[in-house]
């Protein structure tokens, strides 16, 4: 990228069921947090925050236009206030693009989700085309199960390898005070848990419902240097769409992730991702996804996701720790996962990740995904 965009502040709530909190309170808490860190407020003379980008599905919060009635909560009254209807990583992507475009110097990115309010599966099902896939009752869980089956049968991925992903996630989550699920669990426990949708077991799917919010402040290079001593730079970013119809794709591949990754690696000058990155946060809503997305992200060869988890390279202390935060499998709400990845990577690169810190992390990889069986991926590379 010709110019750089810096992350100058990040915040997140504890991820848990919060039936006593209004969405506005979630948003206010996190946005206030990042504004306090930087001392910034919304201003219209170019000395404060110029714009805000939010993420989240409308139908998650109300029958329509929910965020429209919440923009003022973060302070964006009569200001640039736009919303990406995708995973949170896309909001970071767009916020950074606003700065590169020179349209804004400082952008507040917020994401919120209250899964306790709705049936997540129903809202996800409403993303599917009405005539074919939704009519037969498919949703994101069954779509993921179809992909898991195809991926594991084609590449000989064993149930034990998939269970290891869950074990690793929960183990890492113990070090993360914000995580929802951090119980000690063994491969055996995972394999014994109830079947949700063959081949995905309950423990292999993201826990739900979980509530929470994330916020970041992005700034142009010049301003970022003034605002913080520890800016985290976005060095590459891209998103990519795949086919909608599951039958149009080979579900054992994730072509759109390969494209998104290669584009952002090219921007960032990354050629050997496994070696060059020090930490990665991958949105794995189901256990198989960490392995498949790792392949797509070029952390291992095609079909070698199983070997990757067996090798221990992605454990804490390994060559490239994947999801030190515990990832989505430890409970990150819908539409927030990608933004959470960026927040966690930023904390790692600032050396502020507490017990889950990867020592000396310099380059990080954040990933977000949306759509049935990973139709839309977003890859963001970061550096300190």
């Amino acid at each position: 990228m010709a110019r750089r965009v810096g992350i100058v502040a990040v915040a997140q709530t504890k991820f848990e069921e919060k039936p006593g909190l209004h969405i506005g309170e979630l948003l206010y808490q996190t946005s206030r947090d990042v504004m306090k860190q930087t001392g910034l407020e919304f201003k219209d003379d170019g000395t404060g925050i110029d714009s805000t980008v939010a993420s989240g599905y409308d139908l998650m919060s109300g029958p329509g236009g929910a965020y429209m009635f919440l923009g003022y909560v973060v302070g964006a009254w009569q200001r640039e206030d736009e919303r990406v209807i995708e995973d949170g990583s896309m909001a970071v992507y767009y916020g950074a693009a606003q700065i590169l475009a020179g349209h804004a110097d400082v952008v507040l990115v917020v994401g919120y989700s209250k899964e306790t309010q709705i049936n997540k599966n129903l809202i996800e099902c409403l993303s599917l085309d009405q005539v074919y896939q939704r009519r037969i009752g498919l949703d994101f869980v069954s779509a993921a199960a179809l992909q898991a089956m195809r991926y594991s049968t084609k590449n000989g991925i064993t149930p034990e390898q998939l269970a290891k992903v869950v074990v690793k996630a929960r183990k890492n989550a113990k070090n993360n005070p914000y995580a929802y699920c951090c119980d000690t669990i063994t491969v055996k426990d995972v394999l014994k848990s109830t079947m949700l949708c063959d081949p995905i077991r309950v423990q292999e799917a993201k826990p739900t419902p979980v509530d929470g919010a994330c916020a970041l402040i992005l700034a142009s290079e010049e301003k970022a240097k003034k605002l913080t001593k520890k800016p985290v730079w976005i060095t590459g970013m891209s998103s990519c769409y795949d086919h909608h119809e599951l039958g149009y794709r080979d579900l054992a591949n994730c072509d759109s992730l390969v494209t998104a990754a290669s584009k952002s690696y090219k921007m960032a000058g990354i050629t050997k991702p496994l070696k060059e990155f020090d930490v990665a946060e991958i949105s794995e809503h189901y256990s198989y996804q960490e392995l498949l997305w790792s392949e797509g992200l070029g952390l291992c060869g095609k079909g070698e996701g199983g070997k990757l988890i067996d090798s221990g390279k992605t454990e804490m202390g390994g060559e490239l720790p994947v999801n030190p935060s515990g990832g989505v499998l430890s409970g990150i709400p819908h539409c927030l996962a990608g933004m959470h990845s960026v927040v966690e990577c930023a904390l790692q690169l600032r050396g502020e990740a507490g017990d889950r810190q990867v020592k000396g992390a310099k380059k990080a990889l954040a990933h977000g995904v949306d759509g049935p069986a990973g139709q839309l991926h977003c890859v963001i590379t970061l550096e300190n």
Binding site: G62, G64, G65, S220, C378
Partner: protein, 386 residues
């Protein structure tokens, strides 16, 4: 601006109709994309980023971009979906402009749509835009909103029902010359004044219709734009002005954020005399009566005097104030797509390609807006030359 200068190199829209049973939503979008590509003389292979959006409550989807992407040939391309209720189309354009100006892409495609024939009568409790728990319990709809605004406007300005009818007749006269417009009714002041009264002073003809339609634009950074077309329409500036409030905070019940947004953007672009410096206006008026207040807010005339311009017959395509030459939103309203239609029409005026409804003379600068909620606005300024 430190980013790239950008231009619209291609525009396309469907012929707007109240019903489209021959196509589904995605296929309807494909028509607009085909038109925009043909206009820019590009192929889908040239497009490297796509931004989509619609008014989701009227779409039956949560994230309709997913199923539309393959139909418009954008598998393997970067992009995402935007949504901001009524101003969605405006935000889609703003996002496309940002993505192109960021220097990340060569050709950015912005697509918005609405297939209102699928949604008519679809809303039950909770309503279309009434979302927050409380607002759903207040008796509110766009009709009641504009009834209240217009009532307040009339008491403050001295304008009569006849003037409101004149506005609607002017819009219809413009729409009759626009081959893409939906409603072409051959209205007279008398006809409008005798129309079914929804909520005084709003009659059925005053409100925007429900439309099935789609529109698309293609945006390129400067270098690329000059290569693609001989008639680039330069995007001078844009501003999204959302206020996130169901019940407006303004003291003046007729006001929206348009005046504030325009002041801000005029200052940035050195516009001191909008009447002289802007030659074409495409302003989103959800009810014909709103056009009066919006004309004042964009700076065409003093507050509460716009109706006099209609009385004096000064508003029209060939007249002193060429306001909404396309016929505006009361003629065509595919909600989430409507702001994109405004930008498309403004770009056509700048290029001189608006055919039947082209404003005579050179259009150096055009203003397009999006409106949503209870006073949210997005304002765009387009230019003929850099």
């Amino acid at each position: 601006m430190t980013g790239e200068r950008i231009a619209i190199v291609g525009v396309g829209q469907t012929i707007h109709k109240s019903k489209r049973t021959d196509v589904n939503t995605a296929e309807m979008c494909a028509e607009a994309v085909e038109a925009a590509l043909a206009d820019a003389q590009l192929t889908i292979k040239d497009i490297d980023c796509v931004i989509l959006g619609s008014f989701e409550p009227a779409d039956g989807y949560s994230g309709p971009d997913k199923f539309i992407i393959p139909e418009i040939g954008c598998v393997g391309k970067a992009g995402f979906e935007m949504q901001n209720v009524g101003t969605t189309g405006g935000v889609v354009c703003a996002t496309g402009f940002n993505m192109a100006a960021a220097g990340l892409f060569e050709n950015v495609l912005c697509v918005a749509w609405q297939k209102m024939d699928e949604a008519a009568g679809a809303f039950g409790r909770g309503g279309g835009g009434a979302n927050e728990y409380w607002t759903g319990q207040f008796p509110m709809s766009p009709i009641t909103n504009f009834a209240r605004r217009t009532y307040a406007y009339m008491t403050r300005s001295g304008c009569t029902e006849e003037h409101l009818a004149m506005v609607r007749v002017k819009q219809d006269q413009c729409a009759q010359r626009n081959k893409y417009a939906q409603l072409k009714l051959g209205l007279t002041v008398e006809k409008v004044m005798n129309d079914f009264l929804l909520a005084w002073p709003i009659r059925r003809l005053h409100m925007c219709p429900t439309t099935a339609g789609s529109a698309a634009i293609i945006v390129c950074p400067e270098k690329r734009a000059k290569k693609v077309t001989k008639k680039p329409v330069w995007v001078e500036d844009w501003f999204t002005c959302h206020q996130g409030g169901a019940l407006t905070m303004a003291e003046d019940p007729t006001a929206s954020t348009l005046a504030y947004a325009c002041q801000k953007i005029y200052k940035r672009c050195g516009i001191t005399n909008p009447n002289k410096q802007i030659q074409a206006w495409e302003v989103y008026e959800p009810a014909s009566t709103a056009e009066l207040r919006w004309m004042e807010e964009v700076g065409i005339c003093e507050d509460y005097t716009a109706w006099k311009l209609f009385e004096q017959g000064k508003v029209g395509i060939e007249k002193e104030v060429p306001f909404n030459p396309s016929g505006g939103v009361t003629a065509t309203n595919p909600i989430g797509c409507t702001p994109v239609v405004r930008v498309v029409e403004a770009a056509l005026q700048v290029r001189g390609d608006a055919e039947e409804h082209q404003i005579p003379g050179t259009i150096n600068r055009a203003l397009a807006t999006a409106y949503g909620g209870q006073g949210e606005n997005v304002v765009f300024l387009l230019k003929k030359s850099l």
